[in-house]
């Protein structure tokens, strides 16, 4: 009973982290009307739905299975992977690949309906989560943008958590990984990485130079 309670508390922490991360993103979306923020918010909402579903499972213990091995959690996980891939393709303007994650997710889900083999799900998750996660980190680092950087970091950690859960069937490990991943994302959405990690040295130098110039002018005027 105590273990279930711990799991529920951890899921609530994830929900809280999702809400905290969505607040600045919604603000930015309102200000800029940039659809990228909408993509990130929908990714977070998918994580929120996953956690709510898990709480439902812990409370009532009923896992709805479709066919051989497809359940609601897997469907939401596939949605998370699809959204993450779509976000990356949108960011890189790879319009031709928009339908690829949708098609693959559909076939992975269909495969789980037919046979109780999680290997395709594992390969797909491994490939998309790590490749796209790393590419997002690289993209964020290159452009000194905290959102893709933190999203990439959180995707890699969240994906790692999901895969360990798939192997070890240990919810606690997954939850710890997800909380770490979500914490990174919260930091990213509140601008921590842009302020302290991804410092644009050229821009910083420019600002410094402007201040020095202004100080010199002020001194001269005095």
């Amino acid at each position: 009973m105590s273990e279930v309670l711990t799991l529920i508390i951890l899921e609530y922490i994830i929900i809280l982290l999702v809400i905290i991360s969505v607040i600045p993103l919604t603000k930015k979306l309102r200000e800029t009307k940039n659809i990228v923020y909408l993509g990130v918010i929908s990714f977070q909402i998918a994580i929120l739905i996953y956690s709510i579903n898990q709480i439902n499972i812990y409370y009532f213990g009923n896992i709805q299975i479709f066919g051989e091995a497809l359940n609601v959690s897997t469907i939401i996980w596939l949605l998370i992977v699809t959204l993450e891939s779509l976000f990356f393709f949108y960011l890189k303007n790879l319009k031709k690949l928009y339908t690829l994650p949708i098609v693959i997710s559909f076939f992975v889900a269909a495969g789980l309906v037919l046979i109780a083999d999680t290997n395709p799900l594992m390969y797909y998750s491994l490939l998309s989560v790590f490749s796209i996660g790393v590419l997002l980190i690289r993209e964020g680092y290159k452009n000194k943008n905290g959102i893709p950087f933190s999203l990439g970091l959180s995707i890699v950690i969240i994906g790692f958590g999901f895969l360990t859960n798939l192997f070890l069937i240990e919810e606690m490990i997954r939850l710890i990984f997800w909380i770490i991943g979500m914490t990174f994302f919260v930091l990213g959405s509140w601008g921590f990485f842009e302020k302290y990690v991804l410092i644009d040295k050229v821009e910083e130098q420019k600002i410094k130079n402007t201040w020095i110039a202004r100080l010199v002018i002020e001194k001269k005027n005095l």
């Binding site: 031709k96 098609v103 076939f107 395709p120």
Partner: protein
Amino acid sequence: MDFEQIRNGIEDIANTILLIVIPLMAIIIARRILLEKKNTGEWNKIRVLIFSVFFCYIGVVTSTFILETSPIGVSPYGKYFLSHPMTILSLYVISLGLLVSLSNCLVAYANKWEPFYYTALFIFGSMFIFYFFTGFETWVMPYIYIAAIIGISFMFITGFRLKDNGALGIGIFFTIAFSSLILSTILNQSILSDILYIIHGIFGLYFALGKFQPFKEEDIKNE
């Protein structure tokens, strides 16, 4: 000479004609692509896709020819790898699947629907991977039929909307081919399907030679 023999004779004639006509069409289209590349310095993607469609059609025609006229087709392995309709790994199904997928890509390219450029290929490729993991292949033939209907319908729509002779020609060509396939497999009307098969081969040659031009260039320019 009984009815069955006449039917077989027509079938052999149809298969032989197509075995000559389709590669000829592919060669004619390839020659045009190379000429255009030489003149403009760029590959015409639409023409390359048309060539790929006909190249895949060579696979369909060859497997049908070998299956129906040679002893290889009678052997169980030959039947399995050439054109057993329910086996995804057969030459017939691979060629036909690629053909309908590429024709859907062609439609997306012609209409500039960028997100759908490779969707049909993704679906067909996923079906292969799906087969290797699950051993399930029942969706392949329905996919081919559905994709063929979508492809042909949009070929006609694209042909009339953009006044494109190529799209309309391919639409007519594959409508005759598809009708022949439906007649032979679903309605079991072999003789009629073989006659249609011959007709579509003749039309194919007419089209590949560039004679099929219902929309004249001057009319399109005037509009």
